[in-house]
């Protein structure tokens, strides 16, 4: 039943990617900010969580810390840096790359270069028995559930609430929303904070099975971006479908053609580029 296990691997990795991709895609859709620092957020959040876990032994506290830490970081980052580059995408790229470099070196100084693994909480350790006699790591299985829950909550927020309706309107037409008298700044701030929280938390979650190490910030970011490319910028459904596709392709790629697993990820992207360059659910902007 190897292929089933690989599917589960794909789902769980996809769930992790979703946490990063959803934040990136909505942030871009709404505020036109291409926040490449998401990779740095992942790494920093993960390391923060690792340390808080070490000091307190409390996994939930650590997770909160990893998310909150990044929210605070992002607040200052956005206010004092990103705002100075509005609508200049080139400047934004350079800025966010620069900040990621800074995060990378500081985390290197503090936590060193050896890969660090975060110890999952007791209830998430060991295997879980699944149908078809499959034994699967409990942690990764719970990650799938977590991803689904986060996705569901986002979905409800996005599609069924007033708040979500305003964001959707903003993604469609930012000027309209601000002309309607809605406090666009506050809207952005909330969306940025949510994205930052997820990014930080994803670092801690990823740290449990992928480990944290210098370079991870880029490796995870690129895959999250492939999700966004495949799914379409600004689309939550796109991020969901995209993370599913990328997660599965990655898992099966590693299993069937380990030498070329990176190349496999290229395949869905290339297909999209040929037929739908703006992504599965992307809009022509």
């Amino acid at each position: 039943m190897n292929w089933l296990i690989q599917a589960l691997n794909g789902f769980s990795f996809g769930a992790l990617l979703y946490l990063l991709a959803s934040g990136f895609t909505i942030t871009f859709g709404l505020a036109r900010v291409a926040n490449m620092t998401h990779g740095g957020f992942y790494l920093l959040g993960g390391y923060l969580g690792f340390s808080v876990l070490r000091w307190t032994g409390n996994f939930w506290l650590a997770m909160l810390a990893s998310g909150a830490g990044i929210v605070i970081f992002n607040f200052f980052f956005e206010r004092y840096l990103i705002r100075r580059t509005m609508d200049n995408v080139l400047a934004q790229v350079l800025l966010t790359v620069g900040v990621t470099y800074v995060i990378a070196d500081i985390t290197l100084m503090i936590w060193g270069s050896d890969p660090l693994r975060i110890r999952p909480p007791a209830f998430a350790r060991g295997p879980i028995e699944l149908p078809f006699d499959i034994l699967y790591p409990r942690y990764r299985f719970l990650l799938i559930l977590f991803g689904v829950i986060v996705g569901a909550v986002q979905w409800i927020l996005y599609k069924k609430t007033q708040f979500g309706a305003v964001i959707r309107a903003g993604v469609d037409d930012r000027e309209m929303v601000s002309a309607m008298g809605i406090n666009v700044d506050r809207l952005f701030a909330i969306v940025f904070a949510l994205a930052a929280f997820l990014a930080g938390v994803s670092g801690m979650i990823g740290g449990a099975f992928l480990t944290l190490y210098p370079g991870a910030e880029w490796e995870i970011l690129v895959l999250a971006l492939v999700v966004v490319i495949v799914g379409g910028l600004g689309s939550l459904e796109g991020a969901m479908l995209g993370s599913l596709i990328v997660g599965l392709v990655d898992a099966y790629g590693r299993w069937l053609l380990p030498d070329f697993s990176y190349f496999m990820v290229f395949a869905p992207m290339a297909i999209l580029l040929l037929f739908r360059p703006t992504g599965l659910f992307g809009k022509e902007h």
């Binding site: 871009f28 291409a34 840096l81 100075r84 580059t85 200049n88 995408v89 080139l90 400047a91 790229v93 350079l94 800025l95 790359v97 620069g98 900040v99 990621t100 470099y101 800074v102 990378a104 070196d105 500081i106 290197l108 100084m109 880029w218 490796e219 690129v222 971006l225 492939v226 966004v228 490319i229 910028l233 380990p258 030498d259 070329f260 697993s261 990176y262 190349f263 990820v265 290229f266 992207m269 290339a270 580029l273 040929l274 360059p277 703006t278 992504g279 992307g282 902007h285």
Partner: protein
């Protein structure tokens, strides 16, 4: 105007040619890095400064060319006369495939090229049978063409001076040509160019492949200089460095990317002697550039020279406007 530029070029080449007489291997090596990475940055700027596309994965072409030449020379003992052009060709072929990316614009293009660049790094790391993985390929010989054999770094230095020196007028003609003007029109407005009769996608494709050609040339120059290649050469930092060089030096100009290369390499060498935290410094410099010198050094100098033009756009006074009777 044109005469002045030729004079600058000759002075530059003359100075560069004299360096080995006065300074040692360290400086020759530094200059070689500046020239080679400057050429890579130039290839990036063909797209940024003249086509309006921001590629984030050009290290892919650089590394592919270098790996190809390295593998041919080291493993198959193929002479430079074939291995070198083969390297450039490999980069061009990769560019043809990756040119799929020009079907996207703006941020999409950046993300797609970033991913494509990273994929090449991934291949370099995992396709061990071909690339030797993280151990890389060593003992790449210096180039030799028939009876002419390069035997030292100093001699190779002159080869690079000649090649890069030839690139200057070549690139200048390219950007001042009707095709170059077309690219700048595309940079300003895709849709307007459509309505003037241009097949925009085809021009972007051509520009992308040309850019790959230049990056590949830089890659071949690199491998004979470094004589060793590993996946590190395909890592994102190399692409970002090239991007930074064109911005800090001055996008849309010919000398800008090379000035940027000087800045980066001097920084790395100076910073490197005091601290190992060069990523931190680079990051801070990126940030500082964005905040205080978004038009780069060339832009700053222009702005200082013409304070009343501060309202205008430095790019508009670049050396790309046609002048009649020149």
């Amino acid at each position: 105007m044109q005469q002045r530029q030729w004079i600058y070029l000759f002075i530059g080449i003359a100075i560069a040619a004299l360096i080995p007489a006065f300074l040692g291997t360290y400086w020759i090596s530094l200059l070689l890095q500046i020239l080679i990475y400057g050429l890579l940055a130039l290839s990036v700027d063909l797209l940024i400064g003249h086509t309006g596309l921001v590629p984030l994965g050009h290290a892919a072409f650089f590394a592919t060319a270098a790996y190809t030449t390295a593998i041919l020379q080291v493993r198959h003992a193929i002479p430079s006369i074939i291995a070198a052009p083969a390297g450039v060709l490999a980069a061009v072929l990769l560019a043809v495939i990756f040119a799929l990316s020009v079907r996207t614009k703006g941020v999409y293009f950046m993300l797609v090229t970033l991913a494509m660049g990273h994929i090449i790094w991934g291949l370099a790391t995992s396709w061990v049978a071909l690339t030797n993985g993280d151990n890389g390929i060593t003992n790449v010989p210096l180039p030799a063409v028939g009876p002419v054999e390069i035997t030292s770094l100093k001699e190779y230095y002159y080869v690079v001076i000649v090649v890069v020196g030839l690139c200057f007028p070549g690139y200048r003609i390219l950007i001042r040509s009707p095709f170059g003007l077309t690219l700048r029109g595309i940079r300003e407005s895709d849709s307007r160019m459509d309505s003037l009769g241009y097949h925009v996608a085809a021009h972007k494709f051509a520009a992308f492949v040309m850019s790959g050609f230049i990056a590949g040339t830089a890659g071949v120059l690199y491998i004979y200089f470094n004589r060793f290649i590993s996946p590190d050469t395909a890592w994102l930092h190399v692409s970002f460095d090239a991007l930074f060089m064109t911005i800090v030096g001055g996008s849309g100009t010919i000398i800008g990317p090379f000035i940027g290369s000087v800045v980066v390499h001097v920084m790395k060498n100076v910073v490197g002697t005091y601290t190992g935290q060069w990523l931190l410094i680079m990051g801070l410099v990126f940030i500082a550039t964005v905040l205080w010198a978004p038009y780069g050094i060339v832009g700053l100098i222009r702005r200082l020279g013409k304070p009343d033009e501060a309202a205008g756009d430095p790019e508009a006074c670049g050396d790309t406007a046609p002048t009649e009777g020149a």
